[in-house]
Amino acid sequence: MEWRKLLLLVAILALAQLAQAQSTKYGVGRTPTPEEIRAWDISIGPDGKELPPGHGTAAEGAKLFREKQCVVCHGSTGSGGPAPTLIKSDGTKKSKYPCLVPCVDDALVMSLHAQYATTMWDYINRAMPLNKQGTLKPDEVYSLVAFLLFKNGVIAENQVLDPETLPRVKMPNRDHAALAPEWKHAAPRLQGYP
């Protein structure tokens, strides 16, 4: 009988330890409601699974590009303004504005350099327009992304972007970007360098 009691004790202890591992350790903070998480969560990953319902086209985007005052900072042709270049220029005009650091010029235009169109949707939605962040409706964001992708020659003028089609846009730089190797504790940033 003694060994059974011991076994029971061991089992109880193991269960208790398991329960403790699964419960919060400090019990500080509260659980947000699903509505709170939805309201806060503006991250759009490369799969586009967080994209909200909606759709947009380049034609709509062209109108919004003027109406939403994008031209004031980005230039009427999407280049040459004080803010990052959005539409690759023909290279004949030099901007009078010094480029931001880091400099988003023709070489780094988002439509051409980003691996995923979701990066554009995410950023326009979270950070534009200046001083009116968070006011764009999903349809407007889809349209602005479509406009910029069309003007940079990535998609056709009539392509409709929505939660299904936007993540599938084949971005020119998709296969030309390399991720850093897996990060490891106390390892040199690049073995063998210099």
């Binding site: 500080v28 490369p46 931001l100 995410d122 504790h185 940033r189």
Partner: protein, 413 residues
Amino acid sequence: MKIKSSGRRKFLKNSAAIIGAAAAGIRPAGAENPPPEMDMPDLEALISYGQRSSFVKSHRVSVMERMSPDEFGMTFHVLSPIQDSVGIITPSSLHYISTHRGSYVPNIDPQEHRLMIHGMVDRPLIFSVDEIKRFPFVTRPLFLECLGNRAKASHKTVQETHGLTSCSEWTGVPLSILLNEAGVQSGAAFIVAEGAESVKGATSIPIGKAMDDCLVAYGQNGEALRPQQGFPIRLLVPGFEGMHNVKYLRRIKLVEKDYMTYNDYGHIVPDARVAALTRQIGPKSVITFPSGEQKLPGPGLYEITGLAWSGSAAIRNVEISTDGGQSWKLAELRTPSYSMAHTRFAFPWTWDGKECVIMSRCTDELGTRQPTRAESAKFFGKPDNADFRAPGADNTVFPWRIAADGSVQNGMA
């Protein structure tokens, strides 16, 4: 009550000359008798939060390419005056500033601010700032450096060549404690950290790093964070380029892959080696005295001094060359060498009055040595000429040229 009040009055009178001259720059000390009390500035204000001497002028400047604040009132990159630095702690008011592509510095009410942790966790959680302070804290010095901290031949001072780095004593809660409280699910490979400023700057960080040594910091150099450094809370990602150290931290989402935010896309490169050199900093060092636009009054004994740091470990040693890199001698480390913090080095040196080129190079505790531009060029198979741009976060050895008249200039020029 009467005694107390007259005691205070006497104190004010006796202190008036000292406080008045030192703190407010009213007139040089000793120039006049203390003025009558009625003419005094708000002494309570002077006492409640100290100011530096009116004779000390060290100050930050905007990067040349873009003024801060700009025509829209946004802040971009602001350089720390490291030519004037002593020790390893950058005063909070002189810390370099960098924002996510230009944004306004927000004035956040800490009572209203929240941090949400969600995504691939067992229990999403929301914390107030006061709740975060209930968790176990750590205090440690850490440097920050912007990826844009790259010396150019046109730069004149060390503030211009290397001023986008600073070092503070930070206090905060290890991020791993907060993530464990939420319960990290298997398959979570990255965190997306996001700030509360107008552009909601966000960045992806590998989960291994997030669980290793990141901090959610609320303290900087013995007080609350400064708004320009992320008040009320910020993320610290030791040794990673500045961009990852998200200020005004409001949300952390655990995800299965790199989320390629705007900030992440700006850094993508076709070469994985460059990606690795972009993500993490150093080892790197620079001489802050004698440095650009300073002048040695004549031959004789000087202390060459500067800062060394590595994004992977503590600094093991620093070497100095006074002959343009032909020979190297060990410098002395004059502060403890903390992991991923600035370390102050010095090298007593007698200048013979002849033109020379001085430079420093450091080695960290992993045995990685700061490369010269030639070594970096060779590694990447590029010609070592004026056009060569060291890939990733530039940590190459930087030279100062001392002319026969004692004036110091950028040795790249």
